[in-house]
Amino acid sequence: AQSVTQLDSHVSVSEGTPVLLRCNYSSSYSPSLFWYVQHPNKGLQLLLKYTSAATLVKGINGFEAEFKKSETSFHLTKPSAHMSDAAEYFCVLTGGGNKLTFGTGTQLKVEL
C-alpha cells in the first residue's frame, strides 16, 4: 500500500517570504514523486518531479523539492513567494504502477 500525507491543509505567507509545503510518503516500491499545482477553476499543472535521479529537483516558477529517503519526505520550497503562487498544491506518489496517489492538498495563501 502507498500513501501521501500533506501535513498542512493551509499555509499562509507574506509576499517575498519563503514557502515551505510539507509532504511525507509511504511506499513499498521505489517511488516517483510529483508536485502539481491547481489554480482556482483550473486544471492541474506539473511543477516538478522526482524519478530516482538527483534528489534535489528544480521545477517551474522557482519551486524546488528535495527527496529525503531517510525521512520519507518530499517537501516543496520556494525562496520568495509571489501573489501568483496562491493556489492548491498536491503532492503525488506513484510506485509499482501508474496509479497516481494524491495527497489531500495544501492551500497556499500569499498576502501583501
Binding site: G43, L44, G97, N98, F102, T104, G105
Partner: protein
Amino acid sequence: DTAVSQTPKYLVTQMGNDKSIKCEQNLGHDTMYWYKQDSKKFLKIMFSYNNKELIINETVPNRFSPKSPDKAHLNLHINSLELGDSAVYFCASSQDWGNTEAFFGQGTRLTVV
C-alpha cells in the same frame, strides 16, 4: 493548442439523467485516465486505459462507463446521475504505461440537481 481537452467544462443536470464527458489528447500518448475531485479537493483515480485497453478500474459504481474509441480519446458516460456524483472530473494522459508523468485537462465541473 490544448494538449488534453475535455468537454464540456461545466455540466448541470438533473438526477436520473445520463450524460457524457469527452476527453481528447493530442500528445500521442498511449495511456489515459479519469480522476474525480470531490468537494474537499481530494483526487482519486477512477479508470486508466492503455492503448484502448482498460487497465485500472477502481471501485466505481457501474453507472460509470469509460469508452476509448482510439488512443487519443477516453470518454466517460454516466447513467442515472445521483446527487453524490457532483464533482470535478479530470481527464489525464501519460506517454505510456511506464511513464507516470501525467498531463491533465482543465476539468469538467458536474453539478447534479
